[in-house]
Symmetry: C2
Subunit: 104 residues, 2 copies
Protein backbone atom coordinates (compact mmCIF):
# COMPACT_ATOMS: atom_id res chain seq x y z
CA UNK A 1 0.00 0.00 0.00
CA UNK A 2 1.72 3.15 -1.16
CA UNK A 3 0.88 6.78 -0.60
CA UNK A 4 -1.20 7.18 -3.76
CA UNK A 5 -3.37 4.19 -2.99
CA UNK A 6 -3.79 5.21 0.63
CA UNK A 7 -4.72 8.78 -0.25
CA UNK A 8 -7.25 7.48 -2.76
CA UNK A 9 -8.91 5.26 -0.15
CA UNK A 10 -8.95 7.99 2.46
CA UNK A 11 -10.34 10.45 -0.02
CA UNK A 12 -13.22 8.22 -1.03
CA UNK A 13 -14.12 7.60 2.59
CA UNK A 14 -13.96 11.34 3.12
CA UNK A 15 -17.36 11.75 1.54
CA UNK A 16 -20.11 11.49 4.12
CA UNK A 17 -22.45 9.47 1.96
CA UNK A 18 -19.74 7.02 1.03
CA UNK A 19 -18.58 6.75 4.61
CA UNK A 20 -22.14 5.88 5.60
CA UNK A 21 -22.33 3.26 2.86
CA UNK A 22 -19.03 1.78 3.95
CA UNK A 23 -20.10 1.72 7.58
CA UNK A 24 -23.31 -0.11 6.74
CA UNK A 25 -21.26 -2.72 4.95
CA UNK A 26 -18.71 -2.97 7.74
CA UNK A 27 -21.37 -3.26 10.41
CA UNK A 28 -23.17 -6.01 8.59
CA UNK A 29 -19.89 -7.88 8.48
CA UNK A 30 -20.09 -10.96 6.35
CA UNK A 31 -23.83 -10.75 5.83
CA UNK A 32 -24.81 -10.03 2.24
CA UNK A 33 -26.14 -6.64 1.27
CA UNK A 34 -27.25 -5.64 -2.21
CA UNK A 35 -27.79 -2.28 -3.82
CA UNK A 36 -31.51 -2.36 -3.14
CA UNK A 37 -30.95 -2.86 0.57
CA UNK A 38 -28.54 0.03 0.66
CA UNK A 39 -30.89 2.27 -1.26
CA UNK A 40 -33.65 1.62 1.25
CA UNK A 41 -31.42 2.43 4.19
CA UNK A 42 -29.93 5.53 2.65
CA UNK A 43 -32.82 6.94 0.65
CA UNK A 44 -30.75 8.30 -2.21
CA UNK A 45 -31.32 7.95 -5.98
CA UNK A 46 -30.03 4.79 -7.58
CA UNK A 47 -27.67 6.63 -9.89
CA UNK A 48 -26.06 8.46 -7.02
CA UNK A 49 -25.68 5.29 -5.02
CA UNK A 50 -24.23 3.44 -7.98
CA UNK A 51 -21.77 6.26 -8.48
CA UNK A 52 -20.55 6.01 -4.90
CA UNK A 53 -20.34 2.23 -4.98
CA UNK A 54 -18.19 2.28 -8.07
CA UNK A 55 -15.86 4.80 -6.46
CA UNK A 56 -15.43 2.63 -3.39
CA UNK A 57 -14.93 -0.40 -5.60
CA UNK A 58 -12.33 1.34 -7.72
CA UNK A 59 -10.05 1.96 -4.77
CA UNK A 60 -10.54 -1.59 -3.54
CA UNK A 61 -12.39 -0.82 -0.33
CA UNK A 62 -15.38 -2.95 -1.26
CA UNK A 63 -16.00 -5.94 -3.47
CA UNK A 64 -19.01 -7.00 -5.45
CA UNK A 65 -20.35 -10.47 -5.89
CA UNK A 66 -22.98 -11.14 -8.54
CA UNK A 67 -25.69 -13.62 -7.78
CA UNK A 68 -28.84 -13.93 -9.85
CA UNK A 69 -30.26 -10.50 -10.41
CA UNK A 70 -28.63 -9.07 -7.34
CA UNK A 71 -25.18 -7.70 -6.73
CA UNK A 72 -23.95 -8.07 -3.20
CA UNK A 73 -21.35 -5.81 -1.72
CA UNK A 74 -18.99 -6.41 1.13
CA UNK A 75 -16.04 -4.54 2.61
CA UNK A 76 -12.53 -5.54 1.65
CA UNK A 77 -11.06 -5.70 5.13
CA UNK A 78 -7.51 -6.17 3.98
CA UNK A 79 -7.61 -2.91 2.11
CA UNK A 80 -9.05 -1.10 5.11
CA UNK A 81 -6.32 -2.59 7.22
CA UNK A 82 -3.68 -1.57 4.73
CA UNK A 83 -4.92 1.97 4.79
CA UNK A 84 -4.80 2.13 8.58
CA UNK A 85 -1.38 0.53 8.68
CA UNK A 86 -0.03 3.14 6.32
CA UNK A 87 -1.26 5.89 8.60
CA UNK A 88 0.31 4.38 11.68
CA UNK A 89 3.44 3.04 10.03
CA UNK A 90 6.71 4.36 11.35
CA UNK A 91 4.94 6.49 13.89
CA UNK A 92 7.40 8.35 16.12
CA UNK A 93 10.41 7.08 14.20
CA UNK A 94 10.12 3.49 15.21
CA UNK A 95 9.71 4.12 18.90
CA UNK A 96 6.63 1.98 18.24
CA UNK A 97 4.17 3.91 20.31
CA UNK A 98 1.46 2.21 18.31
CA UNK A 99 0.57 -1.43 18.83
CA UNK A 100 -0.13 -3.19 15.57
CA UNK A 101 -3.78 -3.97 15.06
CA UNK A 102 -5.39 -6.55 12.85
CA UNK A 103 -8.66 -6.44 11.04
CA UNK A 104 -10.68 -9.62 10.65
Amino acid sequence: MNIQETAACLGELGNETRLEIFRILVKSGHKKINVGDLQQQLDIPNSTLSHHLSKLTNVGLINQEKEGRHIFYHPHFKQLQGMIDFLLDECCEGESCLPKNNCC
Copy 2:
Protein backbone atom coordinates in the same frame (compact mmCIF):
# COMPACT_ATOMS: atom_id res chain seq x y z
CA MET B 1 -16.30 11.49 16.97
CA ASN B 2 -19.34 11.48 14.73
CA ILE B 3 -19.69 10.74 11.04
CA GLN B 4 -19.30 14.33 9.88
CA GLU B 5 -16.10 14.83 11.81
CA THR B 6 -14.69 11.50 10.68
CA ALA B 7 -15.51 12.15 7.05
CA ALA B 8 -13.86 15.55 7.29
CA CYS B 9 -10.65 14.05 8.69
CA LEU B 10 -10.58 11.26 6.13
CA GLY B 11 -11.23 13.71 3.34
CA GLU B 12 -8.38 15.97 4.30
CA LEU B 13 -5.98 13.05 4.52
CA GLY B 14 -7.27 11.97 1.11
CA ASN B 15 -5.10 14.58 -0.56
CA GLU B 16 -1.69 13.21 -1.40
CA THR B 17 0.20 16.33 -0.42
CA ARG B 18 -1.59 16.57 2.90
CA LEU B 19 -1.11 12.88 3.56
CA GLU B 20 2.59 13.37 3.00
CA ILE B 21 2.66 16.33 5.36
CA PHE B 22 0.78 14.37 7.98
CA ARG B 23 3.12 11.43 7.61
CA ILE B 24 6.17 13.58 8.08
CA LEU B 25 4.67 14.90 11.31
CA VAL B 26 3.66 11.44 12.49
CA LYS B 27 7.06 9.99 11.72
CA SER B 28 8.87 12.69 13.59
CA GLY B 29 6.71 11.91 16.57
CA HIS B 30 7.14 14.39 19.35
CA LYS B 31 10.04 16.16 17.73
CA LYS B 32 9.22 19.73 16.74
CA ILE B 33 8.78 20.64 13.10
CA ASN B 34 8.02 24.08 11.76
CA VAL B 35 6.71 25.25 8.43
CA GLY B 36 10.16 25.99 7.10
CA ASP B 37 11.31 22.43 7.78
CA LEU B 38 8.26 21.05 6.00
CA GLN B 39 8.75 23.30 3.04
CA GLN B 40 12.30 22.09 2.60
CA GLN B 41 11.23 18.48 2.69
CA LEU B 42 8.26 18.91 0.37
CA ASP B 43 9.46 21.60 -2.01
CA ILE B 44 6.10 23.32 -2.48
CA PRO B 45 5.26 27.04 -2.33
CA ASN B 46 4.65 28.48 1.09
CA SER B 47 1.12 29.51 0.28
CA THR B 48 0.22 25.99 -0.81
CA LEU B 49 1.78 24.48 2.27
CA SER B 50 0.05 26.95 4.55
CA HIS B 51 -3.25 26.16 2.86
CA HIS B 52 -2.82 22.45 3.55
CA LEU B 53 -1.70 23.00 7.12
CA SER B 54 -4.73 25.07 7.92
CA LYS B 55 -6.99 22.39 6.47
CA LEU B 56 -5.41 19.73 8.64
CA THR B 57 -5.60 22.03 11.63
CA ASN B 58 -9.27 22.82 11.04
CA VAL B 59 -10.31 19.18 11.32
CA GLY B 60 -8.15 18.74 14.40
CA LEU B 61 -5.60 16.33 12.96
CA ILE B 62 -2.66 18.55 13.79
CA ASN B 63 -1.95 21.25 16.34
CA GLN B 64 0.23 24.30 16.16
CA GLU B 65 2.39 25.69 18.87
CA LYS B 66 3.84 29.15 18.53
CA GLU B 67 7.27 29.81 19.83
CA GLY B 68 9.24 32.92 19.04
CA ARG B 69 9.06 33.46 15.32
CA HIS B 70 8.38 29.86 14.52
CA ILE B 71 5.20 27.81 14.51
CA PHE B 72 5.69 24.16 15.26
CA TYR B 73 3.24 21.55 14.14
CA HIS B 74 2.56 18.14 15.59
CA PRO B 75 -0.06 15.47 14.97
CA HIS B 76 -3.04 15.25 17.27
CA PHE B 77 -2.89 11.53 17.96
CA LYS B 78 -6.21 11.38 19.76
CA GLN B 79 -8.02 12.66 16.72
CA LEU B 80 -6.24 10.15 14.48
CA GLN B 81 -7.21 7.43 16.89
CA GLY B 82 -10.82 8.64 16.99
CA MET B 83 -10.99 8.53 13.22
CA ILE B 84 -9.69 4.98 13.09
CA ASP B 85 -11.98 3.88 15.89
CA PHE B 86 -14.97 5.21 14.02
CA LEU B 87 -14.02 3.17 10.98
CA LEU B 88 -13.64 -0.03 12.96
CA ASP B 89 -16.45 0.57 15.41
CA GLU B 90 -19.22 -1.99 15.44
CA CYS B 91 -17.49 -4.01 12.79
CA CYS B 92 -19.36 -7.22 12.01
CA GLU B 93 -22.21 -6.32 14.38
CA GLY B 94 -20.27 -6.65 17.57
CA GLU B 95 -18.71 -9.98 16.76
CA SER B 96 -15.58 -8.00 17.57
CA CYS B 97 -13.41 -9.27 14.78
CA LEU B 98 -11.26 -6.22 15.32
CA PRO B 99 -8.98 -5.87 18.31
CA LYS B 100 -9.00 -2.37 19.71
CA ASN B 101 -5.80 -0.50 19.06
CA ASN B 102 -4.39 2.49 20.82
CA CYS B 103 -2.34 5.33 19.49
CA CYS B 104 0.41 6.86 21.62
